[in-house]
Symmetry: C2
Subunit: 108 residues, 2 copies
């Protein structure tokens, strides 16, 4: 059973949006830093194409991951918690059942 729009209260939506945005900004900022570090260590074309491959993978990952639909948000949050871009504390205020699901999925 998937959560849909009406399963989220106005307050929960607000909390979800803030958490989502926070994770996105943290991940993007870390990626920028990472790319700038990597570029300093590039010495030949092979290194540059390796950076290109890395960007291809990160773009695919980020484009797919940040999907703000209420039907998939529990899964999105669990992945973000698992990867360290969000903590469970960021989701406080969501109904306990949602927090519990995120926590359980994040451990998988």
């Amino acid at each position: 059973m998937q959560a849909i729009d009406k399963d989220w209260t106005k307050t929960e939506k607000k909390i979800a949006q803030v958490a989502f945005q926070k994770a996105y900004e943290q991940e993007v900022s870390a990626l920028m830093k990472d790319v700038k570090d990597k570029i300093n260590h590039i010495s030949d074309l092979e290194d540059l194409w390796r950076l290109h491959d890395y960007l291809s993978a990160r773009r695919h990952d980020i484009d797919g991951k940040y999907d703000y639909r209420y039907s998939v948000l529990i899964f999105v949050f669990s992945q973000l918690v698992r990867e360290g871009w969000l903590s469970l504390a960021d989701l406080e205020g969501l109904e306990p059942a949602k927090q519990k699901k995120v926590a359980a999925l994040a451990r998988m």
Copy 2:
């Protein structure tokens, strides 16, 4: 009529290899510098994906262009001259007919 291996003397092959390598090194070096400049001006994810698109295009271009087969070398050199990675002077020592072909194709 395409030039093939036996149409190139040993001396010409040596000149061609040096010219090919020179163009490759110049283009790669310019690309590296360009990417390092671009990375300093990246401020958001959209800029980063624009850099990724740029690298995809350059990789495709470079992978396709540097084709050291004697059957296509006249065309490769003409493109490199047109783009400024080689000068006609780099091809001095090739038989005049080859130099003339490269020069004519480079103007197209």
